[in-house]
């Protein structure tokens, strides 16, 4: 378990953050560049001493200026996956993973055997002899992860774990990372500026803006009730969990079926959709949107010059059920947030309990393997 109360000044940055991460929990710190995300990780790792506050892992005090405690990085029970992985360029993948074990005094042959097993766990046993330059972005990330986990840390820190990857390999690597993160039982703290990474990988979000926490909570909570324009824009996404059928349909937890643009293998998925892409109608719309379903307005939330409307799919009796392609059979409880203007709220007379229709184009749905 990690408890970090970090206060420090570094150049223009004035950082004051409190973060708690339980064992088995994944917490994502999201925020714009320069918000102090990476500095927070460096402080936990001991690469940046704090001015005030304290950093505790399990019951061990690592940094406390008031008490005069500052445990050096090498003696902290932490593992850090750097943004660009920082695999040692002159060592093979195997020796990169074994480095920490050897540095902590393990015999070379034993370290190599352990490293080989770790590489096997991340599916890279046949790349053991490869130099980092010969690895792809995703492979190099898995080596970096195996290297960080080799020394069996109590806290795993990940700095922008997917930023170094190109858009094409990102979804797959994200899914792999999620799987590998799940095998680690300690506390996991990752920082990212990518809302999808945060929503897919983390259990809880901490939003950091200009060195201060502006919001924190479960991913669902923060995504649904963003408290600042930045959060709304950044993580104010609808993230719907469901399973793909193997074709172009995804069945959500409540039973609502969505049509997506491209075929998806039959796996557990998350579907992200921007609230701006969800339209609200008073009557059943006719148009190109492939996803149209009846819903009830559950909640209205004014957010500066926009209104966020939570729409709960309602299994109301419908006269033409199944007779028209694209008309969804909604499941009870699947909720999606639409962002509309105050004028639209007035025009459509949107009040809690109002019966409306929601629609989303298939191309506005982004599907992520979970």
């Amino acid at each position: 378990m990690l408890h970090a109360d970090v206060r420090l000044r570094l150049g223009a940055l004035d950082l004051a953050v409190q973060v708690e991460v339980d064992d088995g929990e994944v917490v994502a710190v999201v925020g714009p560049n320069g918000a102090g995300k990476s500095t927070l990780l460096r402080a936990v790792a001991g690469l940046q001493p704090i001015d005030a506050g304290r950093i505790v892992v399990d019951d061990r005090l690592l940094d406390d200026p008031a008490a005069g405690v500052l445990v050096p990085t090498a003696e902290r029970p932490i593992g850090l996956v750097f943004q660009d992985h920082l695999l040692f360029p002159r060592l093979s993948a195997l020796d990169n993973v074994g480095f920490g074990l050897e540095a902590r005094g393990m015999r070379r042959t034993e370290a190599r055997a352990r490293a080989q097993a770790l590489l096997e766990r991340v599916g890279l046993s046949d790349h053991a002899a490869a130099r980092p330059a010969a690895l792809s972005g995703g492979q190099s990330q898995r080596v970096a992860l195996a290297r960080a986990l080799a020394t069996e840390p109590r806290v795993l820190l990940l700095d922008e774990p997917l930023a170094a990857l190109d858009a094409r390999t990102r979804p797959r690597t994200r899914a792999e990372l999620r799987r590998h993160l799940a095998t680690f039982s300690g506390a996991r703290l990752l920082v990212t500026h990518d809302p999808v990474d945060a929503l897919v990988l983390a259990d809880r979000l901490v939003v950091l803006e200009a060195g201060r926490v502006t919001q924190s909570g479960t991913t669902t909570d923060v995504a649904r009730h963003p408290r600042s324009p930045y959060v709304a824009q950044l993580v104010g996404l609808n993230l719907l969990h469901g399973s793909a059928a193997g074709d172009r349909t995804v069945r959500l937890g409540g039973g609502t079926e969505l049509v997506v643009a491209d075929p998806v293998p039959a796996v557990e998925v998350a579907v992200a959709v921007r609230p701006q892409a969800v339209t609200v109608h008073r009557t059943e719309p006719e148009g190109s949107a492939r996803n149209t379903w009846p819903a009830v307005v559950a909640e209205l939330e004014a957010d500066h010059d926009r209104v966020r409307v939570a729409l709960e799919a309602s299994p109301v009796p419908r006269p033409r059920s199944g007779t028209r392609p694209g008309l969804l059979d909604p499941g009870a409880g699947d909720t999606i947030v639409a962002e509309v203007t105050p004028a639209a709220v007035a025009d459509l007379d949107l009040t809690p309990g109002a019966r409306v229709w929601a629609s989303v184009k298939a191309v506005d749905l982004t599907v992520y393997e979970r």
Binding site: A74, G79, L86, F88, G100, T151
Partner: protein
């Protein structure tokens, strides 16, 4: 007219070409002139003279010894300059560079005042043990090291400064202490600059004249290195001087050419 562009080779602005050519000619023509004077028929006789073989052996031994000593002390010194922050660091760096700037004769004289028979340190050592640094091969090595080590320190410091220190951070997060990090991460990353610095250092030591002749003298077979032998021979036996010079040029090229692209141009 559209010409296919060749990648990787920039075409220089035309004004640079004649200037570059002049500079190159200025550097090469003296060696051409030297070659043209080489007494090819009697070269073998000249080169087998003891004065030549002894000077060559002494030059090589002292240049390599000076390089080894410079590596042992110079790499840690470069690390201190690049990585630590202590009061007066810029003064220390200026002192390290001083031997590069000063006339070597001044260096040699300073060495005498420090390590000579009545020198600051040399005096007490001589009184206690009878050991005398000047006018021996040790004196030659000391003079070479004094003049050549700064080249290594400056090169390695630049290499360490340009290395990505976050690799050292990564090593620390994996539990590596400072010595392990230095040995397994910092040194391999600085290797190109260390090799480049060692080559520069060796080349400077091989050509050392002023400090050597001042501090170690010009005793054939004991302290007379190639440059000293050439200087002496120019007065008495010009053909021998040319033969000696030819050997120096050949030895230097043999070391520099294979290394040039790989290490020195990076």
């Amino acid at each position: 007219m559209v010409r296919p562009r060749r990648r990787g080779r920039a075409r220089p602005p035309w004004a640079l070409v004649p200037l570059a050519g002049l500079a190159l000619a200025f550097l090469v023509i003296p060696f051409a002139a030297l070659l043209q004077r080489v007494p090819w028929s009697t070269l073998a006789d000249h080169l087998s003279q003891p004065v030549v073989t002894e000077a060559l052996r002494l030059s090589l031994v002292s240049a390599f010894a000076a390089t080894a000593l410079s590596l042992i002390g110079g790499v840690p010194l470069a690390w201190m300059l690049a990585r630590t922050d202590f009061p007066g660091r810029s003064l220390v760096r200026a002192l390290v560079i001083l031997p590069m700037v000063l006339p070597p004769v001044v260096g040699g004289a300073s060495l005498l005042f420090a390590f000579g028979r009545r020198g600051l340190l040399g005096g007490p050592v001589y009184d206690a043990t009878g050991f005398l640094l000047p006018f021996s091969i040790w004196g030659v090595i000391a003079a070479n090291t004094f003049v050549a080590m700064p080249f290594l320190v400056v090169t390695v410091e630049a290499g360490l400064r340009s290395a990505d220190r976050r690799y050292e951070d990564a090593a620390a997060t994996l539990g590596a202490g400072r010595w392990t990090t230095f040995r397994r991460i910092t040194l391999p990353m600085a290797a190109p600059s260390i090799v480049a610095g060692a080559v520069l250092c060796w080349a400077r030591a091989l050509g050392e004249f002023g400090a050597t002749v001042t501090f170690a003298g010009n005793l054939q077979g004991r302290t007379q290195t190639m440059p000293l032998a050439v200087f002496l021979a120019l007065e008495s036996d010009r053909e021998a001087a040319i033969a000696l010079s030819l050997v120096l040029v050949a030895v230097s090229l043999a070391v520099l050419v294979p290394l040039r692209d790989r290490w020195l141009a990076s």
